[in-house]
């Protein structure tokens, strides 16, 4: 039985400003297990980023219960409790420029552990290790403003790794990047998932969702579906209703099978789809 790191029961959230109350999340019931790779999919305005911010206590739930690492989070959560939670849940935001504090890459990565009051030698070790994981070691002394979007975002990820959290939440961290940057960041995320970190990936790219163990579809602030990528992407009616699409590789497979090619349409990620196509072609006698 693996440990549950995040558990919500009938969780509601609303944004409150002086004259307006805007409810965003309704009756969210989830539990996320340690070491899992969960993707939260949804269109713009579905409340997926808001939910991510609830996990990091940037947003406090309006009603319902939230349990992080076995600690119940009520409206009376103290600053110390928040601090303890934030040590364990790191969050990477959308805009890499707006989450960097320092000019030099390694000094920015060091910001987190410095806040924790870690010994200088240990900070050095953590910074080197974090930069190594994201593949940015050679840029350690570079100025952050001269990096590309994907590189900046990898530095931001290193800044979170250096805090050594158990859970890392990616709040549309690839949305502002070009295709190359997106691929670099996705590879880093997969690497972290492989290292046993719990990953919560917020995205509206279907192609990124296929790598997860579990997909949670949000629509209008409610959980519309919850299951494995295979399960989710075979429910075409639900996908249409929630305004989602199929991943590109799945689309290609479907098209080929429609055209009469004898092919299994089960592969989701590009690599397995490519293998399926190769198999089908071989079956038809093409080498």
């Amino acid at each position: 039985m693996t440990e549950t790191v995040i558990k919500t029961e009938n969780l509601n959230f609303q944004y409150e400003t002086d004259d307006k109350i805007k409810p965003v999340l309704f009756d969210i019931n989830l539990d996320i297990k340690k070491g899992s790779f969960v993707c939260i999919l949804g269109r713009n305005g579905s409340g997926k980023s808001t939910l991510a911010k609830v996990f990091c206590l940037v947003n406090k739930p309006t009603s319902g219960s939230l349990e992080l690492f076995g600690t119940k989070i009520g409206s009376d959560v103290t600053e110390d409790q928040e601090y303890e939670i934030r040590k364990k849940i790191g969050m990477v935001f959308q805009n890499p420029d707006n989450q960097m504090v320092a000019t030099i890459v390694e000094e920015d990565v060091a910001f987190g552990p410095e806040n924790l009051g870690v010994e200088p030698k240990e900070i050095r070790r953590r910074v080197d290790e974090a930069l190594d994981i994201v593949g940015m070691k050679e840029f350690a002394r570079h100025s952050a403003s001269q990096l590309s979007g994907g590189q900046k975002q990898r530095v931001a990820i290193a800044g979170i790794i250096a805090l050594s959290p158990d859970v890392i939440v990616f709040d549309e961290s690839t949305a502002m990047l070009d295709p190359i940057g997106r691929r670099e960041v996705m590879q880093t995320i997969l690497k972290l998932a492989g290292m046993g970190k719990t990953i919560i990936l917020i995205t509206h790219h279907m192609d990124e969702a296929v790598y997860a163990d579990r997909i949670i579809v949000l629509s209008k602030g409610r959980v519309a579906a919850d299951g494995t990528p295979e399960g989710i992407f075979s429910r075409e009616k639900m996908l249409k209703e929630t305004g989602l699409d199929l991943p590109q590789s799945k689309k290609v497979l479907n098209k080929l099978s429609e055209k009469g090619l004898d092919i299994s349409t089960e592969g989701l990620d590009p690599k397995s789809a490519a293998e399926k196509i190769a198999d089908a072609l071989r079956k038809r006698g093409l080498q």
Binding site: C56, V58, E79, Y83, R86, K87, G90, M91, F93, N95, D97, N98, Q99, M100, V101, A102, T103, I104, E106, E107, A110, F111, G112, P113, E114, N115, L116, G117, V118, E119, P120, I123, R124, V127, R141, H142, S143, A144, S145, G159, I160, L163
Partner: protein
């Protein structure tokens, strides 16, 4: 155009000057400026110009970048020079070169203008080579923070101040880039920044400044959230990755800069050429 502003930008190289302790650099930059103001004789001015050139060479920073950083200041430098020529108060034995209406131009006036220009150029080159180009902004603010730490006991928010400095410096290139983008966007919509009288031009800046302010506030908000998520709780209980320690070379460096004052005084006394 905006990209040319290198003032306040760090060049990550590995030179003897880069390796000096930031606290020592702060002190030595002040000493350097003081030394410049000691110069009186033409040879002393030549000497400070030489030290400025030596600084550039030792820092390994390309001379072109330094000259480029002086470019935006050319107008200020020229105006100061002209003012110095015209406002020169002649002493006894001053050489009158030209005279028309109420303006008299003296040889000494021109010399003092040249001195002034040398002084300004050396101050800019000296401080930017010693401080901004060769010291990472974080090291600089760390240095400041550690130097001013005793003031924290008097409830002066030293850490907060240095954090603000760090963030401000971090966002200089970002905001310059953003300004460039907004300017292009407004140009594409037909706004004109480069013609008309001064009032018209200032008015044309409003559609740049407003989006810039709005986006800066949004950035500030996001950054604050990101910092909180990275466990930032103010200066208490924070450690530093890089602990500053003075080394022998740091003291040697300070000694060298301080000895400039002595050398300049000696030159002023024994080689008093063209003192105005």
């Amino acid at each position: 155009m905006l990209k040319d502003i290198t003032l306040g930008q760090y060049f990550p190289l590995n030179s003897p000057i880069h390796r000096i302790d930031p606290r020592m650099k702060l002190i030595s930059a002040i000493v350097y400026i003081v030394a410049i103001f000691f110069a009186k004789s033409a040879i002393a001015y030549g000497f400070i110009l030489l030290t400025a050139i030596l600084l550039i060479l030792f820092s390994k920073i390309p001379i072109i970048t330094i000259l480029k950083s002086l470019k935006p200041l050319i107008i200020i430098i020229i105006i100061t020079g002209i003012i110095n020529i015209f406002w020169y108060q002649p002493k006894e034995g001053a050489h009158l070169l030209a005279s028309f209406w109420i303006i008299n131009i003296y040889l000494e006036g021109i010399i003092s203008a040249v001195y002034m220009l040398t002084r300004i150029a050396c101050i800019i080159i000296g401080t930017s080579v010693i401080l901004t180009y060769t010291t990472s902004p974080i090291a600089l603010t760390d240095g400041l923070e550690q130097m001013l730490a005793p003031l924290g006991k008097l409830h002066i928010p030293v850490h907060e101040f240095s954090m603000m400095m760090t963030i401000a410096m971090r966002f200089i290139p970002t905001i310059i880039e953003e300004t460039d983008k907004i300017m292009s966007a407004q140009k594409a919509r037909g706004s004109d920044f480069s013609s008309g009288n001064i009032i018209k031009r200032i008015k044309a800046l409003v559609p740049i400044l407003i989006p810039l302010f709005v986006s800066s506030f949004r950035r500030a908000d996001e950054l604050a959230t990101a910092m909180e998520c990275r466990c930032y709780r103010g200066g208490e209980g924070r450690t530093k990755m890089i602990k500053l320690r003075f080394r022998f070379t740091d003291f040697l460096w300070l000694f060298m800069v301080a000895s400039m004052i002595a050398i300049i005084i000696v030159i002023n006394i024994y080689l008093p050429f063209y003192i105005v």
